[in-house]
């Protein structure tokens, strides 16, 4: 019964949405309303105004930087939520089901992970630092770092991983993304503009582009570092087993 009602409700919603979608401007139309209003300035001037040839990075970090500062807060908030629900690990020894698995991972896998991990991290550094020129950026790079640690943890176990990236190292860095955004924002006010102004009006015009470039890169690094640490902490909190549940190995 519940199934039929929800099916009816959802098909009604679907028909409504299809009807709406049909009356929208044609997809890919070069003259649709989305192409004529705000976009031209972004596409024409973003390179000069934000000093990043990748227009998307320019929008994310500069034109709509405030959104991104909210976004790094969202992911920090996710970490706080996970910790509020599951609790942070105690300092010292923690373990997961991988650590007490009776079958150890095969040496082939272990060697491959050891061999690949530095290259994955190198690639993530490249992704972060080249975010303003090529596809990529802070979040993507941070996610790649997180992925490399996830591989490491699923093969070597939580005990090994948490020894390499201890809590005292993660705690100060988890919030680094927003802290850097806040500092850049305040510097914008000090520099004579508004919050999050990258091109400070108080300095010479010819210096502005390099200031903008450096601030962009610093913010990218902050996002990457913070995002990676948050992902790792979420992973550790989720994989960790309660002492009460974990059998004594």
């Amino acid at each position: 019964m519940k199934k039929i009602i929800s099916l009816l409700f959802i098909s009604a919603l679907g028909v409504l949405l299809l009807f709406v979608v049909a009356s929208m401007p044609r997809m890919g139309d070069p003259e649709s309303p989305t192409r004529e209003h705000v976009i031209p300035r972004y596409l024409e001037n973003a390179e000069e105004e934000t000093n990043s040839p990748n227009v998307i990075t320019g929008i994310i970090l500069n034109y709509r930087g405030y959104d991104t500062s909210g976004e790094v807060t969202v992911i920090f908030c996710a970490l706080a939520c996970v910790l509020a629900i599951l609790g942070r690990e105690k300092r010292g020894r923690i373990h997961s089901y991988v650590d007490r698995s009776p079958v150890p991972a095969s040496p082939v896998v272990k060697t491959m992970v050891r061999f690949l991990a530095p290259f994955i991290i190198l690639f993530s550094v490249y992704t972060i630092l080249h975010g303003e020129i090529s596809p990529g950026g802070g979040f993507q790079g941070g996610a790649i770092v997180g992925a490399s640690i996830i591989i490491f943890t699923t093969i070597f176990g939580l005990w090994e991983a948490s020894r390499r990236i201890p809590q005292k190292f993660r705690v100060p860095l988890e919030g680094s993304a927003f802290i850097i955004f806040f500092i850049v924002g305040i510097l914008g006010i000090v520099g004579g503009g508004n919050f999050l102004t990258y091109a400070w009006p108080n300095i010479a015009n010819n210096l502005q582009p390099s200031v903008v470039l450096w601030l962009t890169i610093i913010v990218e690094i902050g996002i990457g570092l913070g995002g990676a640490m948050v992902l790792i902490s979420i992973l550790f909190a989720m994989m960790r087993e309660e002492e009460a549940i974990a059998p004594t190995a």
Binding site: L18, M24, D29, I56, A237, M238
Partner: protein, 125 residues
Amino acid sequence: MRLLHNYHYIGAVILFCIGLYTVIVRRNIIKKLIGLNIMETAVFFFYISLGYVDNGIAPIRVGGADPSKMVNPIPQALILTGIVVAVSVTALALSLVILLYRQFGTLDVDHLMRDEAEEAKEAGE
């Protein structure tokens, strides 16, 4: 007939409905979360299609690329935020699922709610 031109949007709407159906009807809470992610993906798909322009190129100003041919960068920038939000919601939901499973020993919504009704009855007596 615009509907045929906007076939990407139709795909997004269908995905959205599948996701919503999964969230409402499925009993397993992990499947509900998968449904939630399908809904989110549908919306992302809609946004990215929205930014497309005929024969568009990536919005990166390298090598004298023509700005008038570039796809719309705003939906892509927005969806990067959307993806991060989706990841955060999923992380939170999964940690709730871990706790629910530890405490109830089941992932079936009907079981969870039946327990609730019984507990309420006991409390009322």
